[in-house]
Amino acid sequence: MFRWFGAVNFSPYTKVGDFAQHLRDGRLMASRCSRCGATSFPPRADCAACMSGEFEFVPLSGRASLQTYTKITAAPTGFEKLAPYVVGVADLEEGGRLLAWIGETIAEKEIAIGMKLQVVPRLFEELEEIKVYYTLERPGTSWSVVER
């Protein structure tokens, strides 16, 4: 159900589609190659190292640090109502990177490159259909305390 992922989803069909179900259930998952054990975030079905097509999902702690960020004022079609919003690129503790909005537990003036973060799975509560995403929050924030 990868179409659940994102307010606007551009790629509903993928071999790593179960990622979205896991996210709905509060788990942030990476992929791990069943043959050579290489892990990847973002997840990928086909191993970049050994080319195997067999993989499994493994949970991540969500602990991360901020690599860089920007506050987007000029938004693209479909996101105008959300603007301005801050997106950050986070380096995950277990390896890999993730791009997401910086959430409400972090005030804009506190945002600093290198700061510690927690990736938190989220649901768009106001939408009837299931729409999942994740945000970058203050360390210690759990997925159950943000609006879900």
Partner: protein, 384 residues
């Protein structure tokens, strides 16, 4: 190894061209290039069109351009690698000539962008980020370069003022380029106090969407030596890629594709960065030009901010960079841009650049980036 020479160039006026279709824009540039090369159209063996198809209603653009230029039944095809489509077209033509398949090839970069609205363009361009894991958060094209800028500032102390200094330089030279979109100088104060687009980037840090076309005509060595004007040789041709996703890049303070493409081009031309006298680099955003100084080896990594602050990329400095105004002032009709860069360097090496002429220029360079560095083409051009 046999050389490939540029024997003709043509450049239309960039801007909001509500007076013309894309094939009409292509014709303007083509006509000028054919005249410049002193050719008859029959001598052209093929054309390669650099353009990004998503912006046009016409499907399969190469066909309509080929017909309008009067080049049927000669072959044509389109190259697409986002904002580097023009340089990809030149590389393809160079390969066709080097392989001996064709002797004379016309390369036309052309694009009409302004028929779409700005949010539509932001959405379209933003999807040159990875759509599965990034675009769902409303990322835009400026947002990626903004994130490079913030990281660059964090690691190297690059300043907001240094970003503006790039805009000031490019507008200074753009004001002296008759084909530029913005022919007006800006002050440092104005450049640093414009509306936010994606922090820290403001309006004056961003190039403008534009319509336009440029054309170069390439020929094999023997034919090039019979052209009325002294040919400019494509002596170093570099081309490289980097991951589509910024999440899989080694760092976010430069473009690994640019470093690799530059190394290839320098090696092939047997020159180094210190030999380059004039360069057109891909300043889609001010930070992109600062990273280009570093990626091309004009200065060390991290010193790009100081390089502009010390006026090293001005005429009379270490290397004249974007003295046609760059994408910033000239405008960025994405498919045309790479071809426009090559036109400018040819002009400079021929000594035809008028009041923005770099004195005694013999060796020049172009650096054309596709997307957020997924593709990069570097050319070293030389006059004998």
């Amino acid at each position: 190894m046999a050389r490939v020479g540029i024997i003709g160039i043509g450049h239309g006026v960039f801007g909001r061209r509500s007076d013309a279709t894309v094939q009409e824009l292509a014709f303007e540039a083509f006509r000028l290039a054919v005249e410049d090369a002193g050719l008859s159209r029959d001598e052209i063996d093929a054309s390669v069109i650099g353009s990004v198809p998503e912006y046009h209603k016409q499907r399969s653009l190469a066909g309509v351009v080929q017909e309008y230029l009067g080049l049927n039944p000669k072959p044509t095809w389109l190259t697409e690698v986002a904002c580097a489509s023009g340089s990809a077209a030149i590389r393809t033509a160079w390969m066709a000539i080097r392989s001996g398949v064709h002797r004379v090839v016309a390369v036309i970069g052309c694009q009409k962008m302004t028929e779409l609205s700005t949010p539509e363009i932001l959405a379209l361009m933003g999807r040159v980020g990875e759509v599965q894991w990034e675009s769902i958060f409303g990322t835009t094209f400026p947002a990626y370069y903004a994130m490079f800028a913030n990281r660059h500032m964090h690691e190297f102390g690059t300043t907001r003022e240094q970003l503006s200094q790039v805009a000031v330089k490019n507008h200074y030279y753009g004001a002296r380029n008759p084909v530029a979109l913005f022919r007006k100088e800006v002050t440092l104060e104005k450049a640093g106090a414009s509306e936010d687009v994606s922090s820290p980037l403001q309006v004056f840090d961003c190039c403008a969407n534009a319509d336009g076309a440029a054309c170069v005509i390439l020929a094999d060595e023997a034919r090039a030596r019979h052209a009325p004007k002294e040919p400019v040789w494509l002596d170093g041709m570099g081309c490289a890629t980097a991951s589509m996703s910024v999440l899989r890049r080694p760092d976010l303070v430069g473009l690994p594709s640019a470093t690799e493409a530059a190394a290839q081009a320098y090696r092939m031309a047997e020159v180094g960065p210190n030999d380059i006298q004039v360069a057109d680099v891909h300043d889609c955003f001010t930070i992109a030009e600062i990273m280009a100084y570093e990626d091309l080896g004009f200065c060390a990594k991290g010193e790009g901010g100081r390089f502009i602050a010390d006026r090293r990329p001005y005429i009379g400095g270490k290397v004249a960079v974007n003295v046609d105004g760059g994408l910033k002032a000239k405008g960025h009709p994405i498919g045309a841009t790479g071809v426009s860069m090559t036109c400018e360097i040819v002009k400079q090496l021929r000594g035809e650049a008028g009041e923005r002429q770099v004195p005694e220029a013999k060796i020049g360079l172009t650096h054309n980036v596709g997307g957020i560095g997924q593709y990069c083409f570097v050319q070293v051009l030389r006059k004998d």
